[in-house]
Each structure stands twice: as structure tokens, then as C-alpha cells.
Amino acid sequence: MRYLPHTDADVREMLAVVGQPDLGALFDSIPAQFRLTRPLDVPQAASEYEIQAELEALAAQNEHAGARAWFLGAGVHHHYVPSAVDALISRAEFYTSYTPYQPEISQGTLQAIFEWQTMLCGLTGLEVSNASLYDGASATAEAVLMALRVAKRRKVAISGALHPHYRGVLETYLAALDFELVTLPRGADGRTLASEIDGDTACVLVQQPNFFGCIEDLPVLAAAAHEHGALLIASVAEALSLALLAAPGSSGADLVCGEAQSFGVPMGFGGPHLGFLTSRMSHVRQLPGRLVGETLDADGQRGYVLTLSTREQHIRRERATSNICTNQGLCLMMATIFLALHGKTGLRALAERNLAKAEYAKARLRAAGLALPFAAPTFNEFVVQLREPAERALARARAQGVVAGLALTKFAPELGDALLVCVTETASRAQIDRLATLLAGERA
């Protein structure tokens, strides 16, 4: 077997050193009645060639953004990833290493995390970032748990325009705990209304832009939350918006969490992605996840280490701020490289391009006679109302090679036959024109 270096002679000689007659004897501590006496019922071993052929066949059965005009987002976004990202994360030193517990032999990973933390602070307008959480949904749940610890109250006010999957995960995470969850209603313009907040409220959680693509007015929500001593949590599912919209931290958010998949991580059927969480320095002891800090070595030279680990499970055990251990390190590396490549001007330009494409699409859809139900400004995603069952329109578009968006029928039935449409820099004008034609129901 190609992955196993042992020759029969090796095994024999090693057994002799160990003092065992055969390999089976190594397992004598396992009571005989529990020893498996039959081969596992999994397929026989395959060569690389066969594995590749099989998986290519399975891969070929999935629609993907490389081969379609793509307008489906809803928390997972199709952006172009420069080739340097994959080339660099394919360095074995990055992807075949472990969590940087031993800093002297892990400075590469550590410095990159420190750089990520710095950039994410700049983007979110806060002072400290952790070294990733699983995904946007669990990062949002962790943010709420953190807010509950910080505020020591038991009411959580959640925007009704939060991504339904984020809400689902949050409910799962909170199920065992003693808390009360209230939903903030959506205004006619698509934005969250700052009602239901009171002195019991630990935190107000809004998505920015929200699930329907609308840009929330964070200062208003922050004022409402802070008035009652609650924390404002901004959950960002499209991290690219951070390059264009006022930094949530500067708009009053106390915690910013979310999903940074847009920064160079492939959609990958939903994962692995990149959860993040930033806060003010004053709350750092309640932050979940790893942190990298700067220090000096024995010669007085600058270096980086994992730090403040007394928050973490391997030190604090049941009193830790979270149970997370393995995180999304390599996705963080992708995002760090993506951000370094784009930089200050490139990321802004990319975000502006997304805005321009989406605005063009909105104009085209309006011109095609379709209604856009929400008046609030949007970034690269918005809702459009159809004149026919959403599934029918989607199927027609798909038949023409266009993945037109997400039917909201299941998620927001009150909107009728509506689609959530995401338009990124990858959509050409011609594709957008085609989308408008297809959704208008005219012949393509």
C-alpha cells in the first residue's frame, strides 16, 4: 500500500524489538469478544487512478460556478480567487502543519495569523480578532454566547432579517441554555426595526447587509441597544461588504462576527469556510478561539505565539470561553493572502465593482418590469419579485445555463415569489442582461 512504508522485514524486526509475536498481539489489551473478526464492509482498495476517475465522475454531476452564469449567494459568494492564493496555501509547510503550539517551529503560521488579526480589526473597526471560528453561523452563535457572558443578562434580540441558517445554528447552540429570544421585525424598506429592546436584553444581533441584502443602519440600532446597556452584534455574511460599508465597529457594534469566505475561499458546497469574531480589547478575556500575540525571543527578537490561552478549553476545560480546538486555519491563510494581494485599494475597488454590477442588475430587472420590494440600499445582493412561481423561473434560467438566485418561498413566504439575487464581479453585463430577460419571462 503506497502510504505505508513498512516492509515485511521491518514489521518482523520491529515486533522483535517490541517483544510481540505478531501484529495481532499488539491488540491483546482489547477483550477478544470485541475484536473485529471480519474485514470492514467498505470497498476494496483503489489506485489513485481509480479514485480520481470515480471522484471526477461524482464532481461532474454537480452544477458549479465555473460553468454557469452565477447569481446565487445567500451567505456563500462566488468571487474570483487569484491563483497565488492556492499556490501559496499548497505549500506543505502551511497545509501539513498543526496548530502552532510550538512557536519556534511555527512562526510562519503565527505571523500570518497575526497579520489576519490586524487586517480584520481594520476591516471591522474593532480592536481584537481571533484566529477563526468554524463558519459564519457558529461564529454568530459564539458571539451571542460571548455577549451573554459579558452582559450577564438573558434576553437576546435577533433581527428577523438574519440568515435563516445562522438563526438555526444559533438556536441549536442556545437550546440548552437559559435565555429568551425575541425577534426584531423588519421594516417596509427591508431593514430591521429597533424595537423589543429593554433592560433585560443582553445583545441585539443584526446581519449587515442583512439576509435580504439590505444595508442596516447600524448607528440607529447601536443607539437603541446601548441605551439599554445591551451589546450590538453585527454579523457579516458577505465580508467583502466590509470594504465598502462603514466599519461596524465604528458604527457602534461591540462585536462583529461572520463569514469571510468571500476573501479567497472557494464556495466548496458550503465549507470549509471562515468564521470570524472581533471585539473591543476590554472584552478580550471573554473571546472564544485562538489568539496570536507578539513577543520577544531569548535574543530579544520579535516573534509570535499563541496567547491568552487561559480562555481556552485545553487550559480552562469546562470554564473555557468555548470548546473550539481545531479551527479553520488554512482558510484564514487563504483570506490573509487574498487580502494581502488586494490590499487597501484593490479590495475597495473589488467591492465597488460588486456594487456597480448589482446596481446595474437592479436597474435591468426594474426595466424588465420586475419589482424590487425593498427600498433600503444594498451591496451585491437584493430581492426581486417575480410574476410566476420562483421555482419555474429558476428552472427556466437553469436550462439556459443561468443559476438565477435563491427562491425565498421557503425562507420568507410573506414575500411571495421572490428571489434573492447576488451579483458579484464575476457576472458580465451580458450575463446580467440575460438574467433580466430570463426572469422577466421573455423568451431568452
Binding site: 524486526e13 451567505g75 502543519s97 519556534e104 481594520g122 440548552a176 531569548a298 476545560r317 493572502i337 494581502a340
Partner: protein, 494 residues
């Protein structure tokens, strides 16, 4: 040195921000084919100013930066990486290739099932295989890592008791357990009760029975445990827990000791997680991503997270969202799918015989190292070990050299150190897990290095205590880092 490492140099490299020069950019956008939009005009105060904290660099700057950074890391592809409990086995290159196939890498989780049949089929197969390997009934692939798997498992246990109308408030965790175990239980609102291991390093039915009560939802157990020792009394322990209505959670981090040889499900485990990034060869990525599927016995199947994959009678696959008793959704989408693809490829590569052989060799390797190192280092427990072994620095008493020093000195020999000071029940633990990927002569070189350090500790302790000497950075001051945390770069230092 051991013949593994020798003289060399490192490249220096400043932080991205220090390398930044206004006006550089490492990307160019496509030509714009739609009207420009003035963001300020459109969004007003909703728009932001300049993005503080982002650097400006050309593509070549960025490539060199990260290439240089990479050279400061140890890696499985560079050599033995014997972190105990982490199963740093070889990450096959075919896994990386197939995970990048466009039909996997660029698929969208909200595409309808009819348009993603290949992925659903892969999920379905992998679930079956993991169930068979573990002796479980069903498996969810959603958890993003072992700890999230634990969370899911404990949630299911909670839901099970709730459904039976008898919520409970405690979870038993052995003192040798990994930190995620108590943390996961606590995150679920459970009170954690620590159960002491016996003098032989394993758990005894008596200790469990003493802690067990009708208020105990279950026990979390790692088997083989974090000492690498098989929990010989596990069946009896499970009986104790089950007898009082509790359930047994299996931490599958050490499954690499059992695949093809014994199945946790057969041993009495009711629910367990798999670390695909350990047993099933997906890379650790410098900290993640991993994947932590959870297998359950039939009694817990109703509580699985949604959605689950089902095969219809026509052979097509679909998502089942309607599980009335489900704990709900754990991940924004379907989990760390890229890792599932890799694990699928790994199981296909090994097949039934290869999986078993890998287990046998992993165990052989750990036992071989133990045999070679016994004496020079203290072996705290006499029990036979499986895939990893724990040693201590007690043989170095009086030299002033501790486990940490031995670990750092190994770096000078070109080795990543083992896990140190874990499990907590062992003083000065060196926890060594070679995995099946290491050849006999590679183990010999590593053992020689450790033996040389043991000698050096007596002859020249100062050299060991001040190690490493050959790395770009010498020993780093972790206390300083924690005392006045500097967690991001700021212009001018601050």
C-alpha cells in the same frame, strides 16, 4: 545532531504592513462593462473611509512574503511530526487534487439536490463507511471539527433525555480527557463531574459507578485514552452508565488505534465523533479546517442535525430536512465538505485491508518507540499502549532539564516536538504518536535524537535548557505575550 538536521539559514521577512508601499496592488480587476457607481453618493454615511490596516503590495511581494513565512514552519511533508493525540499522518496528494475538482470546489450549498447528485452520493457513501467502521447506525457529516462533533453529540444526548421527559444535569468526564470534552459538556449547560483514572491510567467501573446517578446524562470517554491505553473495562463501564439510563459518548480522536480491529459501537459507545483530520488523513492546515462527523446508535438517530442525506427508491439522493426531534442545524451549510471529499478518497485508497493494516502499523510504531525509549525516559504506566505512548522527564530529575526543554531541543534535531504536559494526570508528559506513516528507520533516527538529548541533559543541561539554538527565533517568551497582549500591528508600534 541526529543526521536529520544540519546547518542552514532562514530568510527574514517583515510584517505585510511594514512591507506596504502606497500605490502597490497585487490584483487588477477585469475591464468594467457596466456603469460606474459612486458609492459615496449612493450610500452616504453608510459607506466607509479608507480601510485602515490593509497593506499595499504587488503580487510578487505577496508571493515572496508567504513563501518565506512558510519556510519557518515544521510540516508532515518535511518529517516526523509526533504530536500525541493529533495523528499527524501523511496527507495524500491525490486528496488535494480531487478536493479541488470544480464540481466540488465551486459548487454551492443552496443548489438544489437534483443539481448536486454527485456530492450527495459522496455524502451518502461516506456516511455508510464511517458507520461501518465505527459500528454506528447513522452519521452526520455536519460538524466542522471534533469539538463541534462533541457538542452535537452531547446535544443529542440532551435531546434524548428531554424527549424521555427526564432531563439530567451532569456529565461525567475522566480526568485524562481532552479539554474539549468538559468544555463541550459545559457549553451544553451540563455540570461536569470529573472521574479519576485508576493508578493504571484507565477508568474503573467502580469510579464511574460512584459518580453515576439518575441525574447523569452520560459519560464522555476516549478510547484508547489519552495515554494510548485501551480502556479494558469499557464494556462494564458502559453497562454501569446504561443501567442508570445514561449514555456513553466516545471521543473518537484516537480511532486510529482501532479502525478495522475493533468498533466503538460494539464496545458499548452510543455516540461518537470522528476527526477526519486525524484518522482519515485530511491535512491539519496549520490549525484547521478539520471535520468532525458524529456517529450514533439507532436510539439517537432521531436527534441528528438537519438536513440528512437520503437515497430514494430510484437511486437518487435528496436532503431530508424534516426530522421532528432533530437538535437542528449545526453548521451554516453542510460542514467542511472539502475534508469529506479527502476522507472519502482516503478510505477508498486503503480499503478494508489497508485500513486495518494502517491501524496495526500505527500501533506497532508507537510500541516500537516506547521500547526504544524506555529507560532513558520514564514510563508512567505499565499497561500496553496502542497508537501512542506517554513518557515523562522523571529520569532527568536533578539535571534541571524538563519536558519543555527536551521538546525544544528536539527542534534542533529537525523534529517537531511531541505533545507536552498532556494528559494532565501525568507530570511532565511527553505524548508521542508516530502514526503509521513513519518508517522504521525514521523512527530510529527520532529515537536516537531523543536518546541523545537524554544523555545531553545529564552532560550539558544548559544546552538543552536554552534550546532551540538553530531556529530563526530562539525560545519565545509566552509570559510576556500574555502579560501585555499585542494582538495586532499598529503603525508606530503602540
Amino acid at each position: 545532531m541526529s543526521g536529520n538536521a544540519t546547518r542552514g539559514f532562514s530568510y527574514e521577512e517583515d510584517l505585510l504592513f511594514e512591507r506596504s508601499r502606497a500605490g502597490r496592488c497585487g490584483v487588477d480587476l477585469p475591464r468594467n462593462d457596466v456603469p460606474e457607481v459612486d458609492a459615496r453618493a449612493l450610500l452616504g454615511a453608510l459607506a466607509r473611509d479608507e480601510i485602515a490596516g490593509l497593506p499595499e503590495l504587488s503580487e510578487v511581494d505577496v508571493v515572496r512574503h508567504f513563501t518565506r513565512l512558510s519556510t519557518w514552519n515544521a510540516a508532515v511533508d518535511l518529517g516526523l511530526y509526533p504530536l500525541g493525540s493529533c495523528t499527524m499522518k501523511y496527507n495524500p496528494k491525490i486528496n488535494e487534487r480531487v478536493a479541488r475538482l470544480p464540481g466540488f470546489a465551486h459548487a454551492h450549498p443552496l443548489s438544489p439536490a437534483e443539481e448536486t447528485q454527485g456530492l450527495l452520493a459522496l455524502f451518502f457513501e461516506l456516511e455508510r463507511w464511517l458507520a461501518e467502521i465505527s459500528g454506528m447506525e447513522r452519521v452526520t457529516l455536519q460538524p466542522a471539527a471534533g469539538a463541534q462533533g462533541e457538542l452535537a453529540g452531547i446535544m443529542m444526548i440532551r435531546a434524548y433525555h428531554a424527549q424521555r421527559g427526564e432531563p439530567r444535569s451532569r456529565v461525567l468526564v475522566p480526568d485524562s480527557a481532552h479539554g474539549t470534552n468538559p468544555a463541550s459538556a459545559a457549553l451544553n449547560g451540563y455540570q461536569v463531574v470529573t472521574v479519576p483514572s485508576g493508578d493504571d491510567g484507565i477508568l474503573h467501573p467502580k469510579a464511574v459507578a460512584e459518580a453515576m446517578s439518575d441525574d447523569v446524562a452520560g459519560l464522555m470517554i476516549t478510547n484508547p485514552n489519552t495515554l494510548g491505553i485501551f480502556e479494558t473495562h469499557l464494556a462494564e463501564i458502559c453497562d454501569v452508565v446504561h443501567a442508570r439510563g445514561g449514555l456513553v459518548y466516545g471521543d473518537g480522536a484516537n480511532l486510529n488505534a482501532l479502525v478495522g480491529v475493533a468498533r466503538p459501537g460494539d464496545l458499548g459507545i452510543d455516540v461518537m465523533h470522528f476527526n477526519l483530520h486525524k484518522t482519515f488523513s485530511t491535512p491539519h492546515g496549520g490549525g484547521g479546517p478539520g471535520a468532525g462527523p458524529v456517529g450514533v446508535k439507532a436510539a439517537l438517530a432521531p436527534y441528528l442535525p438537519t438536513p440528512v442525506v437520503e437515497r430514494a427508491s430510484d437511486g437518487s439522493y435528496r436532503w431530508q430536512h424534516e426530522l421532528p426531534h432533530s437538535i437542528g442545524r449545526l453548521h451554516g451549510h453542510h460542514g467542511n465538505v472539502g475534508m469529506l471529499v479527502r476522507a472519502h478518497a482516503f478510505i477508498r485508497a486503503l480499503g478494508p485491508d489497508g485500513l486495518k493494516r494502517a491501524t496495526e502499523l500505527a500501533v506497532l510504531n508507537a510500541n516500537y518507540l516506547l521500547a526504544r525509549l524506555r529507560g532513558a525516559f520514564h514510563v508512567p504506566y505499565a499497561n500496553p499502549v496502542l497508537h501512542e505512548c506517554v513518557l515523562t522527564d522523571r529520569t532527568l530529575a536533578g539535571t534541571g532539564v524538563s519536558t519543555l526543554d527536551v521538546a525544544k531541543r528536539l527542534i534542533d534535531h529537525g523534529y517537531h516536538p511531541p505533545t507536552v504536559y498532556f494528559p494532565l494526570i501525568v507530570n511532565g508528559a511527553l505524548m508521542i504518536e508516530p502514526t503509521e506513516s513513519e518508517s522504521r528507520e525514521g523512527l530510529d533516527r527520532f529515537a536516537d535524537a531523543l536518546l541523545a538529548i537524554a544523555v545531553e541533559a545529564h552532560q550539558d543541561p544548559e544546552t538543552v535548557r536554552s534550546a532551540p539554538h538553530s531556529t530563526r527565533r530562539r525560545r519565545l517568551d509566552e509570559t510576556r505575550a500574555a502579560r501585555k497582549p499585542v494582538l495586532r500591528w499598529q503603525p508606530g508600534g503602540a
